[in-house]
C-alpha cells in the first residue's frame, strides 16, 4: 500500500497523455468512422515542430519558450492533419472502408520516412528540453515530476475547452449533429466537409500538446515515437468507447493506471512472480481491455455500437 499513491499519480500522468492522443482517434472515428492510424505520426510531427521552435530560441528559459513551443507543435500537427484529410482521406470518403485504412497506414510510413530523411539529425533520437530542478516531494511516498505537472494541468484544461466547445458553440453542436447523422446534418445546412476538417484539426492540436508533454517527460523524441503512443491511445479510445471524447480521456487514464499498477502489484501476488513487472504490463492492460469489451462491447462510456461498421 505504501507504493499506491505514487503508482496512481504516475499512472494518471501517463493516462492523461494517452487520453489527449485518444481524443484525435475518437473524434475522427465519431464523425467519419475512420480509424486514422497515422494519428501517432501527427503526434510525432508535433514534437518535432515544438523542438524546432525551441532550437530557434536559444537561451530562452524553457518556461518562457513553452507556450511558443506548444504553438509551433500545434501549427505543424494541425497543418499535417488537415492536409492528410484533404489529400489522403477526402478523395476516398465514399470508397470501401478498407481503402482509407490502408491509406492511413501508408501515410504513417510516409510521415515517418519524411521526418527521418529531412529533419536534421532525426536519424537518431533528438534531445528535447526538460525542466530543471528536482521533483516536488509531496509526501514521504509521493513525489511529483515537473513534467507530470505539465500534463496534469494541460489535459484537464484541454478537456474543459473541448467540452465547452462541443456543447456551447454553434460549430460544436454542428459537429455533434454531423456525428449523429451526416446526411441530415447536411440537409440542415451544415457544411460537413468543414466539420470533418475541424475534427482532424482538433485531434491534431491535442496531439501536439501530448507530444510536448511526452518530450518533456522523456527528454528525447524520435521519428518512430508515434507508433507505440498511437497504439496505446487507440486502445484507450476503444476502452473508453470510441466516438466519445470523455470516454477517450477516461480510457486513457484507466489504461495508464492499469499499466503502472500491474508493474507494481502483479508480481507480489503469490505464484505470479513470473507474470509481473514491466515486461507484462501490456499483457495485463490488454487483458483488461478484453474484459471490459466482453462486459461492455461499446466501451466504458460508448453510447452506441459502431452500427455503420
Amino acid at each position: 500500500m505504501h507504493q499506491l499513491p505514487q503508482t496512481l499519480v504516475s499512472g494518471l500522468a501517463l493516462g492523461a497523455l494517452y487520453g489527449l492522443i485518444a481524443i484525435g482517434y475518437t473524434m475522427v472515428y465519431g464523425i467519419v468512422q475512420l480509424i486514422n492510424f497515422a494519428h501517432g505520426e501527427i503526434v510525432m510531427v508535433g514534437a518535432f515542430g515544438a523542438l524546432t521552435i525551441h532550437l530557434w530560441l536559444p537561451g530562452v528559459p524553457l518556461g518562457a519558450a513553452l507556450p511558443l513551443m506548444i504553438l509551433g507543435g500545434v501549427v505543424i500537427s494541425v497543418a499535417v492533419a488537415t492536409a492528410a484529410e484533404r489529400f489522403a482521406y477526402r478523395p476516398l470518403r465514399n470508397a470501401p472502408r478498407l481503402a482509407p485504412l490502408i491509406t492511413a497506414i501508408g501515410l504513417s510510413i510516409a510521415l515517418q520516412q519524411l521526418v527521418w530523411a529531412f529533419y536534421p539529425n532525426a536519424k537518431k533520437n533528438r534531445d528535447f528540453p526538460q525542466f530543471h530542478g528536482n521533483a516536488f516531494q509531496l509526501a514521504d511516498n509521493l513525489h511529483l515530476q515537473r513534467d507530470d505537472v505539465f500534463i496534469l494541468v494541460a489535459a484537464p484544461l484541454c478537456m474543459l475547452a473541448l467540452g465547452l466547445f462541443t456543447t456551447k458553440s454553434r460549430t460544436g453542436r454542428a459537429m455533434q449533429a454531423t456525428a449523429q447523422d451526416p446526411d441530415t446534418a447536411r440537409l440542415m445546412g451544415i457544411n460537413t466537409d468543414r466539420i470533418i476538417v475541424l475534427a482532424f484539426a482538433i485531434g491534431g492540436a491535442f496531439a501536439a500538446v501530448a507530444a510536448v508533454a511526452q518530450g518533456l517527460h522523456i527528454g528525447q523524441i524520435s521519428f518512430d515515437m508515434g507508433f507505440i503512443l498511437g497504439l496505446k491511445a487507440f486502445t484507450a479510445a476503444v476502452l473508453g468507447g470510441i466516438g466519445n471524447i470523455y470516454g477517450a480521456m477516461l480510457g486513457g487514464v484507466v489504461l495508464g493506471i492499469a499499466e503502472t499498477s500491474s508493474i507494481t502489484y502483479i508480481q507480489d501476488i503469490p505464484g505470479m512472480q513470473q507474470l509481473g513487472g514491466g515486461g507484462w504490463k501490456d499483457v495485463w492492460a490488454f487483458a483488461l481491455l478484453i474484459l471490459v469489451l466482453l462486459i461492455r462491447p461499446q466501451g466504458l462510456l460508448g453510447e452506441r455500437v459502431a452500427d455503420r461498421a
Partner: protein
C-alpha cells in the same frame, strides 16, 4: 504489438532491396569489364543498423570496415585484389538481417561479412552464411550461445556454425567482469536487475546476477522492459522502493539511458551499470543531467589509449566520416582486417590468384589468422571466439564516458 513495425519494415525493406539490387547488378557489369585488366574485385559485406535508434553504433561499424578496405587498397595489401564494400542495413531487426544475409550470399564477389551488431540478429543470419561457407566476423555480438552452442552454460560447448567468428568477447566474460567490479571495487551489495528481454540483454543480466550472488551480493529485485518504449517510471518507482544501491541493466543505450534518467528522477540516486550496449554517448544524452556515476563495461581496452589504435583514430578522422567510430569501430576494423588477411592467405596459397572455391579457402584461412590489430592481438579459438579477453569499466564523469579500470579477465 510488434506485428505492425515488422510488417512496415519488411515492406520498406523490400522496396529498398529492389532499388539496391538494381544498383548491384549495374555494379557487377562494371566490374566484369574491369576484369579484363589484372585486378580481381573482392567484396567484403558489412551488415549493421544504419537507421533507427542503434544507428550510432551501426554506422561506426560500417565506416570502420570501409576504412579497413581503403587502407588495404591503398597499401596494396593483397596483390592483384581490389576490395570493395557491400553494405546492408538490418535496422536491428532479425528478419531483415536474414534477408540481408541471403543477399550477401547471392553476391558471388562477397568473400566475408563483418557484422551484425545485435546478437539476436546474428542468430537469424548464421545459418544462411554457414550453408554458403561464407565467413562472418561480428565485431559486437557478445551472446555466448552464438559460438559455443545453446548448452554452453552446462559446460557442453559445441560450435554450432563453422563460419561464425567474432572479435568481441562474450557476455560470460563481460557479465562476470561487471559483477566483480561492482562487488569488489564499487562495494555494492544490493542490486536491482533489469533487462530488455532480448537475446543480448537477458543473457547478460542472467550471467551478471549469477556471478554477483556467487560473490555474496544480493539481487533485491528484477524487472523487464520493452524495447522502443520510453516510459519506465513504473520500474523506476519499484527500484526506488526496493532499497537497492545499484541497478544493473542488460540491454541497449536507448532504453538504458532513459531508465537511468527516470530512476534518478524517481528519487533513487544510485548508479546504473550495463554492458557494452549502453557504452555510447547517446546513453548520456538519454539519461539527462543526473547520470554521473553510471557504469558500463566494454570489450577491449579503450581504443584511444592503445598505441596500436592511434593510427586508426587518426585515419578515421582524416577520412572525414560524418559519424564517430563509436564503441565497435576498432573491433570492426580488426574484423575486416582478419577477412582481408584470410583472403591474402588464400590468394598466396594459390600462386597469387583467387582460388575457384574462394569462400571455402578464406574460411579455412580464418582459423590461422593472427596479427596485431587496433584492439590488440587478433586470433580466434576453436569456437571462433576472440582470444583477446581484455575488458574495461567506464564511468560517466561530467557527462562523458571515462575509462576507470582496464584489465584482462581472470576466472
Amino acid at each position: 504489438m510488434r506485428h505492425r513495425p515488422s510488417l512496415l519494415l519488411i515492406t520498406a525493406f523490400t522496396t529498398g532491396s529492389l532499388v539496391l539490387t538494381a544498383c548491384g547488378s549495374r555494379d557487377d557489369k562494371g566490374s566484369d569489364k574491369g576484369d579484363s585488366g589484372t585486378k580481381t574485385t573482392v567484396a567484403i559485406g558489412v551488415d549493421s543498423p544504419f537507421t533507427g535508434s542503434l544507428s550510432a553504433l551501426g554506422l561506426g561499424i560500417k565506416n570502420s570496415v570501409d576504412l579497413a578496405i581503403r587502407t588495404a587498397n591503398k597499401n596494396n595489401e593483397v596483390k592483384g585484389v581490389t576490395f570493395k564494400l557491400v553494405a546492408t542495413d538490418d535496422q536491428a531487426v532479425p528478419g531483415t538481417g536474414q534477408q540481408n544475409a541471403a543477399k550477401l550470399v547471392a553476391d558471388k564477389s562477397v568473400l566475408g561479412v563483418v557484422g551484425p551488431l545485435n546478437s539476436g540478429v546474428s542468430q537469424s543470419m548464421q545459418g544462411v552464411f554457414a550453408k554458403a561457407n561464407l565467413t562472418q566476423v561480428s565485431p559486437a555480438n557478445t551472446n555466448p550461445a552464438l559460438s559455443q552452442g545453446d548448452n554452453w552454460s552446462s559446460g557442453q560447448k559445441k560450435r554450432p556454425f563453422k563460419t561464425y567468428f567474432r572479435t568481441a568477447t562474450t557476455d560470460v566474460i563481460q557479465g562476470r567482469f561487471a559483477a566483480q567490479y561492482l562487488y569488489n571495487e564499487a562495494k555494492k551489495r544490493k542490486v536491482f536487475v533489469v533487462d530488455d528481454k532480448q537475446t543480448y540483454g537477458a543473457g547478460l543480466a542472467a550471467i551478471f546476477s549469477q556471478e554477483f550472488q556467487h560473490l555474496g551480493g544480493q539481487v533485491v529485485g528484477t524487472d523487464h522492459l520493452t524495447v522502443k518504449e520510453t516510459d519506465f517510471s513504473g520500474i523506476a518507482n519499484k527500484i526506488k522502493n526496493s532499497g537497492a544501491d545499484a541497478v544493473y541493466f542488460g540491454g541497449q543505450y536507448p532504453e538504458g539511458g532513459l531508465l537511468s534518467g527516470q530512476t534518478k528522477k524517481a528519487g533513487a540516486h544510485i548508479p546504473e551499470m550495463g554492458g557494452d550496449g549502453i557504452y555510447d554517448p547517446a546513453f548520456i544524452s538519454g539519461a539527462g543531467k543526473d547520470d554521473d556515476g553510471d557504469l558500463a563495461t566494454s570489450v577491449g581496452y579503450p581504443v584511444e589509449q592503445l598505441d596500436s589504435a592511434k593510427t586508426f583514430v587518426q585515419n578515421y578522422k582524416d577520412t572525414g566520416y560524418k559519424d564517430p567510430y563509436a564503441a565497435y569501430g576498432g573491433y570492426s576494423y580488426d574484423a575486416a582486417w582478419a577477412i582481408i588477411q584470410a583472403v591474402k592467405k588464400a590468394v598466396e596459397d594459390n600462386n597469387g590468384k583467387l582460388p575457384g572455391d574462394a569462400r571455402q579457402k578464406v574460411l579455412d584461412a580464418m582459423s590461422k589468422v593472427s596479427f596485431d590489430g587496433v584492439t590488440g592481438h587478433v586470433s580466434f579459438d576453436e569456437y571462433g571466439d576472440t582470444t583477446n579477453k581484455q575488458l574495461t569499466v567506464y564511468q560517466v564523469v561530467n557527462h562523458q564516458w571515462k575509462a576507470v579500470k582496464s584489465s584482462t579477465f581472470k576466472d
